[in-house]
Amino acid sequence: MKKKLTAVTLAMAVSVMLLAGCGGAGRTDAGGTEAERTTAAGTGTPAAETSQPGVQDAKGEAEIDEGRTVGTIDEITINVSSDIADLAPFSVTTNGRQSVLPTLYEYLAYYDPNTESGIRGILMKDFEALDGFTFRIEIYDSIYDSAGNHITAEDVAWCFNTYHELGISGLAWLVDYCKPIDDYTVELKLMSDAAGQFENVICGQVPIVSKTAYENSPDGMTEKVVSTSPYIVDRYVSGSQLVVKKNPDYWQKDDSLILDVSRANAETITFNIITESSQTAINLETGAIDIAQKISSTEASRFIDGEDADQGYHVFGTGDSNIYLLFFNMSEDSVFHDNQALRQAICYAIDTDGIVQGAAKGSAKALKAVGNPICVDYNPEWEQQDYYDYDVDKAQERMKESGYDVSKPLRIMCASTEMSQSISQIIQAYLMQIGIQTEIEVYDSALFSTYIADPTAWDMFVDTRMNNDYVTTLSSILARKGDTPAVNFCEDATLEQLAAEASGATGHSAETVEAYMQYTKEQAYVYGLMSITNYYVTNDKVADIFVNFKGLVVPGACRYYTQQ
């Protein structure tokens, strides 16, 4: 009896000990008492609808709470979800670097899909397209970096050529040459005239720095940055934290010419590297950070009305620049080669709305084309059209037409991310309904990237692709171009011709895009699954957020409440 009593007492004590840590999150009012906000929207973000109650669209003009003034703030802290690695202007692109580069450096221009041309100059005063490939770019004559170096056309040309020569970006090949024409004008020639490529190169790829400053830097600016940005590096702890302070001598003195992205609305910005996703929300609740960017829908839901931590927090949502696609193997030995009916059967068998609910917990949008709805040339009419809408009967009809022998299972390959694995599992379940057995092969990012290039390693694969400017940009991977094969080894002369017409800067029009997209849909070489919603949660210091076209918050450009 004594032994039993002891055991029960011990068990109870342990349970209490464990549950003490498991309890619901405490209400931490991290920034004021106001809890009811109507809207507080960001700017500069590609439009995407987020109809969830309690979630504000990160777009349009902000409505500010009555009785509170909006302006600058002394200090703001934001999370970065992966290691920044280094601060150098020309280095390998990583997610961590992407989060801090827009604060550390300036580019020639900023991509703003809400404007007619999509391009707004930062260092660039004006530009002229000489033909689809060649551009003449004029920069301001008053640009100085934080060390006082004057930025001229020679520096701009050097930056583009260095970027090209280093070849450490997938887009480096795009630059043919860049040469100075006079003190403040350069000629930039690209290797492609595809729509969106000029914007791609000048808006987010090549940070502009002084050649002298770079060459004089003992560490290639990996830690000691000298740039034209409105911020200068105060402290950098590799793998942990970056602190930047406002540059009092920012070169652009004309306030009317300063773009939102180049604003410095916070005196000090701290970027905290938080790699563990569950820790991001906890850091926000404890006040360790003020802005949590790109947090999961599950974590974000805690901050929406009715949950534990809704007091004084604002949840913003915006469409991601990446979309999820299902690629069919179109190489000669694949079962999908010359079997359009089989591809269509699979598309009809998959309920993309089911994937949205099952994999993204409703925080996504089923695709109606192989393109992101945030793209400027996305046709809203596609939303009303049939895009292999879920129909098991049609799927079974197509299966019969295909004559496919179901005895051999198909392989679905995906990367080891939670989302890709969920999507693959749901697809596997749907395909069982029409008798197709599948095996899911999950690989880490490096192996996945390697095996994609091997047509014998997979039958279908689930993957994301960035698509935030034009829907036709994806044609560069869907259609073979010269010696470069399509990502799924598709060889179709008609597709290649339609893609070339629709994506070329001169041929890009509503008609050519329509022809290309309809053909892509009909052939079903690739099936569009969904575009997910990104969530950003802020405490009550933040009036509205600025999300750039890469889906990342630019903290200096956000607006803050100066009066609590």
């Binding site: 840590g21 450490i168 090949w173």
Partner: protein
């Protein structure tokens, strides 16, 4: 003793050489292309070939291996990261203090709590204190570190608001990671301590000591504990050596820029110099820790010390005979 230390240090050279060759070979033949990781999945074949050549990855395997070994052993250079161009040696040295502090503090706490728990359990075998100690040990062994870490964060950072949830701002930032990291160590230390103590306190010399009138406490602390500590030191040393390679989970949960986090980023990006550098560094630190563990045996156990000394004496006598 000094000869013994020198001999052990010299033995480290072939160990490190073997580790270097092995890790380089494994990584070289592991699928996953660092060039594709840098340029992206949709990069052109020409761009990939160009970058591969500029990184020296198109050279034959033996040439690459020899070049690497030359850099490591002749220039003490672990190379530069493919992704950042930063020196791997410098980055490891920058990150090592964080990992060392975490590993050392955790080990210290494990020893300070785990050994007494084990001793208490052993001397009170099958009694209440034994059950409590072993229950705590069972919990520690069963609960994954990341879960313990997150529970501690929820309780102390979120609910009580007395400690920061993550980061490296000051000493208070290390309290939760150290506790989370030490929890498993306390458990294994207690279990090992109990088992060793039980073995020792049943020995004849302990019975003799008690029969001669030595008090129970005196017997335990003066006679039993030093002998029971040898396997415990082995466990402590091994786990400390392993921790110095990076407490990967804890560093990740608490955003500590240690060696473990660095190595994981290297593995994910197929940044071979980072992985090779971290493994070689781990081999060196592990060898040194094991040497220290062996020396500690001599400190706690006079029989082992006598072996070292008698070894030296025998050699001295032999040499003297030769001289004559």
């Amino acid at each position: 003793m000094i000869r013994y230390i020198i001999k052990r240090l010299l033995w480290m050279i072939p160990v490190i050489l073997g580790v270097s060759v092995l890790i380089f070979t494994i990584l070289h033949f592991t699928p996953g292309d660092p060039v594709i990781m840098i340029l992206g999945r949709d990069s052109t074949v020409e761009a990939q070939a160009q970058l591969r050549a500029s990184m020296g990855l198109d050279r034959p395997f033996p040439v690459q291996l020899l070049s690497y070994l030359k850099d490591v052993f002749l220039h003490f250079d672990l190379g530069v990261s493919y992704n950042t161009g930063k020196s791997v040696s410098e980055e490891i040295l920058f990150r090592f203090p964080y990992t060392f502090m975490l590993a050392f503090s955790s080990m210290l706490i494990s020893v300070l709590i785990g050994i007494p728990l084990g001793v208490i359990a052993a001397v009170n075998q099958n009694k209440l204190w034994d059950r409590i100690s072993m229950f705590i040990a069972l919990l520690g062994v069963s609960m994954p570190q990341f879960w313990v870490g997150l529970l501690l964060v929820l309780l102390f950072a979120l609910r009580l608001g007395i400690l920061p949830p993550s980061g490296i701002g000051g000493p208070q930032y290390f309290i939760l990671p150290i506790i989370a990291n030490a929890f498993g160590g306390i458990a294994s230390m207690a279990r090992q301590g109990r088992s060793s103590m039980l073995e020792v306190i049943r020995s004849d010399y302990v019975t003799t000591a008690r029969a001669k009138g030595v008090s129970k406490t005196g017997t335990i602390f003066r006679h039993a504990l030093p002998n029971a500590l040898i396997p415990v030191i082995t466990v402590a040393g091994t786990s400390f050596g392993r921790s110095l390679g990076g407490t990967i989970v804890i560093e990740s949960v608490f955003s500590i820029p240690g060696i473990g986090a660095y190595m994981i980023s290297g593995i994910n990006n197929r940044d071979y110099p980072i992985v090779q550098g971290c493994v070689v560094f781990l081999a060196v630190t592990f060898s040194i820790i094991m040497l220290l563990v062996d020396l500690m045996y001599a400190f706690v156990d006079p029989r082992i010390k006598a072996q070292y000394v008698s070894g030296s004496r025998k050699r001295r006598v032999k040499n003297e005979k030769k001289d004559r």
